[in-house]
Amino acid sequence: METLLILLLMPLPAFMGRVHDPSPGIFQSKEEARNLECTRLSQAEAHERFPGQVPEPPARGSWAVTDALACSRRFLRIGERPARDEAVLSALRQKVGDITQTASALEAGELTWHVDAFYPEPAVAAKISVAAKTDLVERGRKVSDRVPVLAAGDIAVLWKLPPQQAYPLACERYFAQGVLTERDVFLGVMIVDPRETQLHAGLCARGEWRWLQ
């Protein structure tokens, strides 16, 4: 009886190890696994962030390469926000960072930057706009919180045009109406097709529109 008990208990350590495994399996469904974001860290970095869980690397080093996989659940599970919004927002920093890097490389002078985002969902548009403004200031650009606006008649015309024509024409109108001057530059971030999740961007300087991506 005792031998049987010992034999039954022998696989227990192996199962205990599987409890913390982020991959789908006995203790975790595929859906739960998809909602995890994992990052591989060196043992030293993992010890700094999780000193209670990860021991300090041996002072004399180790022959074996040791690292840690830090996983945390997404704050909002996949499916809780509309798929397009989630795709844009979950990589906002990286997407907007790429755009502002390209834009600030093209216009390097002492200019005042204005930013606006064109996205069907106003709350998400505001997030994109704020991210771009903040990123530009952190890159050392002079940024204004004022959003250039056109007259109602201009907007009525622009509304009917396809994006490829509307944005260049809007840029011309900004300049013609004096909303933007020689010392201003306007960065527009938008999605062109409502079905896509890729952010596009254009730069309006001296009445000339340039697509960045």
Binding site: E37, P51, G52, R74, F75, A123, V130, K133, T134, V137
Partner: protein, 395 residues
């Protein structure tokens, strides 16, 4: 009749479908609300952490040279979250500013700044938030002395929470004079700093490490336990013995994966026995690789001890049935003695290495043939004669 019946069925079908769907939708909504509440509790701590980091940065490198009035113009929470979180963030931010005058920022009240204002001028009529039309506020004299507004924007990007803070000067051009992006590190728990003694994330983390390492490698355990002995084949039965032990316990590293201890113990029962013990143990952490500050730790241990018993109770710990000579010796004052060795195998559950509860089996190899001592477990090479439970307090 039949078309009328079909029409009735078709008319009632949508209602039936709705009736079928409604409870499910409500249940889903309730589950979603529960989940949201649970997540918001975590997000709230992470958001506090980011605000702490922002304000700590201002105490180290103030944005303004002199104390400057500042309007909290807008707090934007992640898309999908409600105004409850917004209120918590506003309160925490205000609390941090009040507790940290070194930021050189004074929060001012400006209800017109955040509300929608209508301004008619030569260029037309503009409807906007006050902070977006500062000249309108200025003309109305409602800026309350503040010339700057702060906007706090939180957004969830995967498993990270990102704070984007910007301060705008309330002049017609609305220049942004300060902007900062802060993000929670992947998976790192919130540092939970106190608002009145803010410190950097690195310092707070170091403090936590110091708290971990502050535990001495040596502890003084005091242990109270009871041993019971299995009934043997003889007429005499060994009575349970209470023990009080004290000694020293040490570990090689702060992980406390391996610990060793040496304790001496004393046991006394009126009219029955006086006993001494010296015991050594080697323990291995089996519930993880390092001991936890927040959860219990489970150790498995092996140990050895030498026990010496004096008094009538020692008669049970002999290889023979007590005879008349033993009883005569007892009556004449020359009480029996028993000294034997023991091997232990057990489990010890510790909480923060301060309090522990243990259970163990003990083998007395020298007493395998003692008629008064039986065994609880026989695994062939070892017979476990004694079962003990104990509570340990570490100092």
């Amino acid at each position: 009749m039949r078309p009328a019946f079909l029409s009735l069925i078709l008319a009632l079908l949508p209602a039936a479908v709705v009736a079928e769907e409604s409870p499910l939708t409500d249940a889903q909504r309730a589950q979603l609300e529960t989940l949201r509440g649970e997540i918001a509790a975590q997000i709230q701590l992470q958001a506090y952490d980011l605000l702490d980091e922002l304000v700590f940065g201002w105490t180290e490198q103030p944005v303004f040279a002199l104390e400057t009035p500042l309007v909290l113009a807008d707090v934007s929470v992640p898309v999908g979250f409600g105004s409850g979180m917004q209120a918590l963030i506003e309160n925490h931010f205000a609390s941090l500013i009040v507790k940290n005058p070194r930021t050189r920022v004074a929060l001012t009240h400006c209800p017109q700044c955040t509300s929608v204002v209508v301004h008619s001028g030569a260029t037309g009529t503009i409807v906007s938030r006050g902070v977006d039309e500062p000249e309108a506020l200025s003309k109305a004299g409602t800026l309350s002395g503040s010339r700057h507004a702060i906007f706090l924007d939180f957004e969830i990007e995967g498993a990270a929470l990102v704070l984007r803070a910007r301060i705008t000067s309330l002049e017609p051009a609305l220049p942004i004079i300060y902007a900062k992006t802060l993000s929670t590190s992947t998976s790192s728990p919130a540092l939970l700093r106190t608002g009145d003694r803010l410190k950097s994330a690195a310092e707070a983390r170091q403090e936590y490490v110091n708290a971990l390492q502050g535990r001495s490698l040596y502890q003084v355990p005091i242990r109270i336990g009871v041993r019971t002995y299995a009934t043997g084949s003889g007429q005499v039965r060994a009575a349970p013995m209470p023990w009080l032990q004290a000694g020293v316990e040490g570990s090689l590293t702060q992980a406390r994966a391996w610990t060793g201890s040496f304790l001496v113990g004393f046991s006394w029962t009126p009219q029955l026995h006086t006993a001494w013990m010296a015991q050594g143990r080697l323990s291995r952490l089996i519930s993880g690789t390092t001991s936890s500050l927040t959860g219990p730790d489970l150790y498995a241990f092996v140990g050895g001890s030498v026990i010496s018993i004096h008094g009538p109770a020692a008669l049970a710990f002999q290889d023979q049935v007590p005879d008349l000579d033993d009883l005569l010796a007892l009556l004449t004052g020359g009480g029996p003695d028993a000294t034997f060795g023991a091997l232990q195998l057990g489990l010890d559950l510790r909480v923060k290495n301060r309090i522990g509860v243990g259970v163990y089996l003990e083998s007395l190899p020298a007493l395998n043939n003692a008629p008064a001592i039986g065994d609880y477990l026989d695994i062939g090479i070892l017979q476990f004669h004694s079962l003990g439970v104990e509570v340990t307090f570490c100092f």
